[in-house]
């Protein structure tokens, strides 16, 4: 297994702009599908492990929490569910993985008022899989599907730092998604527009349990540590093979991804990476996390402001701890360039 762990996390990750390139092998997609089937369809018991069930994490942070389900007032089952993450989700039906983001909370999500559950069941804690699956309007095929064995680029910006109201921006493969297209499949939060919750802000999200069960005031409660890519050490067992490149995290700043010029600071018009200096200029500061170049990825060398004080003072607490074998990979990231031969990795010098 291999991963980069930043145990102390990325402070302030409740409000951030994140950009990175990724791809998943088809074998990873199928492994996630098998994992989903194995764990989601197993008989429910107590303290089940549903952490990252069917998920393909790319960035992960924060704690696992316990979800408990009650029937007629009696706890019928409970499960550990996953932390916050940006990644993909598989199930037993879809052909391709679905883009997914979950903002986990240490708050219990609240008590279902019946509109989100059936019978006399309700839930406390967080649902998994779930959180946000970015999706297009119109169920039942609303999700953004992510083709395997090809590079993809994601910019997501969010503010879930406080309260019950948040904001979310998303550009996937240089296409902006908002409004009804941000329709979550989980039960942590919902977009205003997507589920008719009210309001007209196409980037607004809200804690669903606050929205539907007004007497529960639980809100976003992001915990930013530990942090890892694809996972921190705590979740190493759930790691799957993926390719990653060009990670930039700016905390405390949001970015409107509907503005093409904003996206051009991360991805050019030809679908290729841009020098990270462009994003730093746009955002008005260096990123807290910057993993730029295979060599820095392999060493876990964070050259963002959390890990490097310019010009050359390394901040140990902001450096990733690499575990396992991490290989340089080619072809490099691009939307329309050479994508290589599926299943055949070309290794390059870091």
């Amino acid at each position: 297994m291999s991963y980069l762990d930043l145990t102390k996390g990325v402070p302030g990750l409740g409000k951030a702009t994140v950009s990175f390139w990724f791809r998943i092998p088809a074998t990873t997609r199928e492994a996630a599908r098998a994992d989903y089937i194995n764990r989601r369809f197993a008989p429910a018991g107590l303290n089940d492990d549903l952490v990252f069930a069917g998920s393909i994490p790319l960035l992960s942070w924060g704690p696992s929490v316990l979800q408990a389900q009650f029937t007629s007032g009696v706890m019928s089952n409970s499960a550990f569910v996953g932390p916050s993450y940006i990644g993909l989700q598989m199930d037993d039906v879809v052909a391709e993985a679905m883009l997914s983001v979950r903002f986990q909370s240490t708050n219990p999500a609240g008590l279902n008022d019946g509109s989100l559950s059936t019978g006399n069941s309700f839930q406390i804690g967080q649902q998994q899989p779930g959180g946000f699956s970015y999706s297009t309007e119109g169920m039942p095929a609303p999700d953004i599907f992510v083709a395997a064995d090809t590079w993809h680029h994601l910019i997501t910006s969010f503010d879930v730092s406080t309260g019950t109201h948040g904001s979310l921006w998303l550009a996937f493969d240089d296409h902006n998604y908002n409004g009804p297209q941000l329709y979550p499949s989980g039960e942590v939060a919902r977009s205003y527009v997507g589920d008719g919750g009210g309001g007209s802000d196409p980037n607004a999200i809200d804690c669903v349990f606050n929205l539907f069960s007004g007497w529960f005031g639980y809100g976003f409660d992001p915990v930013d540590n530990p942090f890892g890519t694809p996972v921190p050490r705590d979740y190493a067992v759930h790691n799957l093979p993926v390719e990653m490149a060009e990670l930039q995290i700016f905390t405390g700043r949001t970015l409107d991804t509907s503005i093409v010029d904003n996206r051009r600071a991360f991805i050019d018009a030809d679908g290729k990476p841009v020098d990270p200096a462009a994003a730093a200029l746009l955002m008005g500061k260096r990123p807290e996390v910057l993993l730029h170049g295979s060599g820095n990825w392999i060493a876990g060398r964070n050259t963002g402001s959390l890990g490097l004080r310019l010009p050359d003072t390394v901040i140990a607490a902001g450096q990733f701890t690499p575990t396992g074998k991490i290989d340089a990979y080619s072809p490099g990231p691009s939307l329309h360039g050479d994508q290589g031969t599926p299943g055949l990795r070309k290794r390059t010098a870091a």
């Binding site: 316990l66 406390i124 200096a277 290989d327 490099g332």
Partner: protein, 53 residues
């Protein structure tokens, strides 16, 4: 809707002179390997706090 980066720092009006396309002939990307070995239990969850209205 308030965002940073869209108006305060107009990138296209003032691009950095050193801005250039990244050359990725080798050296930007990495491959991570899967977990192996026996499964380990998940870390202890945070305490579940249940509040009633």
């Amino acid at each position: 809707m308030r965002t940073e980066g869209s108006t305060d720092k107009p990138y296209v009006e003032n691009p950095p002179e050193h801005l250039k396309e990244v050359h990725w002939g080798g050296g930007l990307a990495v491959h991570f390997y899967a977990a192996d070995g026996p499964p380990v239990p998940p870390p202890p969850p945070v305490a579940l706090r249940i509040a009633r209205p």
